[in-house]
Amino acid sequence: MTIGSSVKRIEDPRLITGQGQYVGDIKLPGQCEAVIVRSPHAHANILQINTEKAKNLPGVCFVMTGEDLPTDLDPIPMRLAPNEALTKALQYPLAKGKVRYVGEPVALVIASSRYIAEDAADLIDIAYEPLTPITDVHKSILPETSLLHPEIGSNDLFIIHSKKGNVDELVEKCPYVLEEDLYVQRHSGIPMETRGLLATIEENGRLTVYGPTKVVHFNIQILAKLLKKNIKDIHFIETDVGGGFGPRGEFYPEDYLIPYAALKLGRPVKWIEDRLEHMKATNHSREQKHHVVVGFDETGKIHALKDEIFVDTGAYIRTHGVTVPVLTQGMFAGPYDFEALEFITHVVATNKTPTGTYRGPGRFEGTFVRERVIDMVAKKLNMDPTIVRERNLIQPEQMPYSNGISALGQVVEYDSGDYPQILERARLAMKWEEFADKKLQARRDGKIIGLGFAMFVEKSGLGPWEFCEVEFAENGRLICKTGLADIGQGVETALAQICAEQLGIPYSNVTVLHGDTDEIEKGNGSFATRGTVVGGSAAWYAAEALKQKLLSFSSELHGFTKDELDIKDEWIIQVSGGQKICPLAQIIVECQKQGIELREKYTFSIDHMSYPYGIHAAEVAVDSETGKVKIEKYYIAYDVGRAINPMLVHGQLVGGMAQGLGGAIYEELKYDETGQLITGSFMDYLLPSSMEVPEIDIEILENSPSPLNPLGVKGAGEGGTVAVAPAVANAIVNALDQYPIHITSLPIRPEQIRDAIKKGIVTNEVEPL
């Protein structure tokens, strides 16, 4: 059995020996390097740009500004959740006349080396006329605020309204109502490798671009359209990629500029994003303000929930359109059975970096708000928060369960799941029953500890389809060509395992090809936890078709019916009795001799997403002097339907948790009131290190295989991230239940905790007067 085994990755030998090939590692003869000059202003008119001095610097070969863009150039279109109303807020590759965020590309400089290109960038003289920057969503939508995209008529670019039942009516009937404002801060994926591209013109005039990833077959269409070239004249090659997480691989201004410059110059042009540049140029994410109203009764049952959400989408609409706002609504209800729901989401423009998706888009935000609200309800009723959760959970017999809200063009319908069971597991794992005593004991020892839970439902396996082609090469290796991208997640190994399982061969005999538009016919790419679900299913069926071909041939050759035969451990065997008939290698050679093509293609289509689910629990200790939070124990249970490689699932969850922890306590892309990004380096933007990320206990469950695909898989990419913030926040509030603390915004700062402790004990429940 290959599926279900924690086999070692086939990707690793190259990567651990320094033989990986990331885009920055490629050097082509005659290549020159690009630097982008970016706006230092959040909002300004461009009065004049003088490029003469830069152009005259020895070694400089090309300088261009927004004025030099083709006059008929279209802006960069939306890839997901496209929306006609928002097309007037799309971004052009270089600013024309006006800049709307710090970091917006204003000019492109190309020289024989990056050092000289940076010298030249300093020589470009740009006169700006600063305008009032808009840095807050509420101020942005005031009538007196100037419009960032006047053609849309409002900075409230788009409003999404969805509802189930009548919230207002139900809230009125509820004995308890809670009204809260919550905030999730701006932060993002921040992969360790910055973006980069290398574009070159081949002898036959074709344009080759190294560096695209994630959605190469989609992005090549965008580039062809923008360059007004035939798609056949462009070749995208995915190199090794240093982390995806959502932002990486989308079509950015540079994805047009670098190929355009290569075509203009007729020589290879390379651009490697600087880290300081990355922080303000690559998609931000997450920033949302929520105003929640919840109606509930004395048992803890929540009857109705209304949420008005203000999404700070930044200065332009990028490739994700309104994906994040839409997903926030669709996935907000999580594992709970709420009778009435209503969401009003405002997609608001500001003078900040444009935004897109980041691991668990919409779910990280919604889960923080919802799971905090659950604990607030429990606090108000003086109830155990896990009991409040229990009383609101969707029951297994309600599956499949439609939550009544749409996301990405389909009503959210959970396919399967046992939510009460996973809650019970977490309570047992964290010894919740005994925790009150433990906490009291700790308090006697002068230690402040707390325990918090957060449940979540994830979504995965976004269609509409994925493609796979498998073929036995002459040397007997299986070549698996997938439409997925490898962004570091281990997709090669997972697909090799799936093919190996079908064909009875070692997974190490499989070579997986991806991201090369000449080699791979079509594809939708790697995002939205769709790789193993959709791409894995395509590989499963393609390999199965190939297997059937081999068995047909074997049955004729050896005088069996096809149904009597199978492949196991590289042998054709008889199903009954397991008798070895003939080595697989021999059949392959025989087929090749007879000119039988051992190649099959499969396109796996799927209409509905899958919904993995889980729970996070955190036990924290709070330092009363400094307000520092230490995570003493962290637990995640996640039902992924089925794990192709449990070690990789485990790795996804631990790594995902580290990113979630960053979002909970450390990371923030913070702007000052002038619209300057003040956390634009790794000295200010705090990525969790090995000292901050705790050891994490993971339980991978396979209790609810998805009925929607042949493998039963639900994906594992994002569940480690989405519930960290509320689990940690709830634990801190639990630890400080004697103190005046109310966590409603992220990241949770030590000063907030320290201040609460300094204010002193406010309840007399534990320590009687």
Binding site: R9, D12, I16, T17, Q19, T194, V241, G244, V654, S681
Partner: protein, 183 residues
Amino acid sequence: MTQSNSKEITLTVNGKQYTTSVEPRMLLSDVLRDELGLTGTHVGCEHGICGACTITMDGRPVRSCLVFGVQANQAEIRTVEGLAEPDGSLHPLQEAFWEKHGLQCGFCTPGVLMSACHFLEQNPNPSREEIREGISGNLCRCTGYQNIVDAVEMAAEMLNKNKKSEEETSDLEIVHSGRKVEV
């Protein structure tokens, strides 16, 4: 900028001597990657925080983005390309990172390996907490570090076992796993 500004430097990288002419402002990371073609050393932030570009220079780990190439004149440098044996046998750390799934995208890995290599030379029997401290100068965005700690722990055991067998059979070279890597 001009050739006259350049300075000739000689440095030994992974046992091989190189002489090259570089501008005084050129970073060592760029010298290694662009001039010498040793692209195993990665550049993640160029301001000395992420640790992806960590190499050892005269036996000490340094961030090659914070060192000018000219400062490395006459230096002895080791990069990730010099970890495995010339015949391709993996270093125990590489073996352990593979075994324990200590990497995902692999971009930070060369720097982590070089830091860990020096760390284990200094502290051959570390606790998990000490390992965490030892690699805390290297940021990883994929793994959450747990498997990296597992891997360094495993490598420490392997190295100690090797050392023991070396002591027992004094004329033997360090015993590597023998696994060959095809790239």
